[in-house]
């Protein structure tokens, strides 16, 4: 169970690197002087840098939402000694669908496709939560 958890954490860092690699040049291009910038959050870049650049940031943020539940349940299953077989397969499916969701959101961001990948990943997460609840009770 540790492997898919690590894989998704690693993927999040890949998206982070991608966000930085696209965002920093984009900020420079629109004349934002990082050395003089005070306050604000990443959201302030909305409408300032091109949408395609922000899509990476949106996905980076998104990877800190539903996946936090995945980490909790996956680690809970591992601690309870139930992190193998079906649970492990479901965890890998979740990670695969989240990678797909990232690629959709960062590359062409058609909302209907993004939604479909997201719903598929959430259904896997629902299955893991139910199996976790059954296993822990």
């Amino acid at each position: 169970m540790v492997a898919p958890v690590l894989a998704l954490a690693g993927w999040t860092l890949v998206i982070w690197a991608w966000m930085m690699a696209t965002r920093l040049p984009a900020l420079a291009k629109v004349g934002v002087k990082l050395g003089r910038l005070k306050g604000g959050t990443g959201r302030d870049a909305e409408g300032v840098v091109p949408d395609q650049v922000q899509w990476k940031a949106h996905n980076y943020n998104h990877l800190h939402e539903a996946p936090t539940l995945f980490y909790a349940i996956a680690l809970g299953l591992a601690v309870a000694g139930q992190g193998d077989a079906t649970n492990l397969a479901l965890a890998w499916a979740y990670v695969g669908l989240r990678v797909l969701h990232s690629l959709i959101q960062t590359l062409w961001n058609q909302v209907l496709w993004r939604l479909t990948a997201y719903i598929a990943s959430q259904l896997v997460l629902v299955a893991l939560v139910i199996r976790g609840a059954a296993g822990f009770m």
Binding site: L69, V79, A80, Q110, V111, L115, V129, I130, F136
Partner: protein, 143 residues
């Protein structure tokens, strides 16, 4: 197993989050249709863009769904830590159940009436439970 009792409230709060996810979709998708959003050709954007477009009551459910991915992440981390060091039974499990109960109440307040004073009060109470769990974890790890 020793210290595993706390995994029950963990699973319940994760399950509650999934309930909120379903509730969000059941209300949001029809509201998007009603607002005339051409979702087939929609490219880019995030859920926050819907704040100005959809009725407040629909967005409140989304706000709570998002909120359930904030402070509860600390709860999950600390609860798992307590389970791992064998401190997830007894009082800690009870506090964790208290936290989950207060978060469910917080969800109901935010989605149904959304009076900020009530919401704030319940959030503060839930944070006190979380502080207690974090303190217990600190003691367990360092003492």
């Amino acid at each position: 197993m020793i210290g595993m009792e706390i995994l029950k409230p963990v699973a319940v709060l994760a399950g509650w989050t999934m309930v909120m996810w379903l509730w969000m979709y059941v209300t949001r998708i029809p509201a998007m249709g009603k607002a005339g959003i051409d979702s087939k050709n929609l490219v880019g954007g995030t859920g926050k863009n819907l704040d100005e477009v959809l009725p407040d009551k629909v967005q409140w459910i989304a706000h709570n769904y998002n909120h359930l991915h904030e402070a509860p992440t600390v709860f999950y981390a600390i609860a798992l830590l307590l389970a791992m060091v064998g401190q997830g039974d007894g009082l800690n499990a009870q506090i964790a159940w208290g936290y989950v109960g207060l978060r469910v109440l917080h969800s109901l307040i935010q989605t149904l009436g959304n009076r900020v004073m009530f919401r704030f009060f319940v959030f503060a109470l839930s944070s006190l439970c979380l502080i207690a769990l974090v303190l217990h974890a600190l003691i367990a790890v360092f003492h």
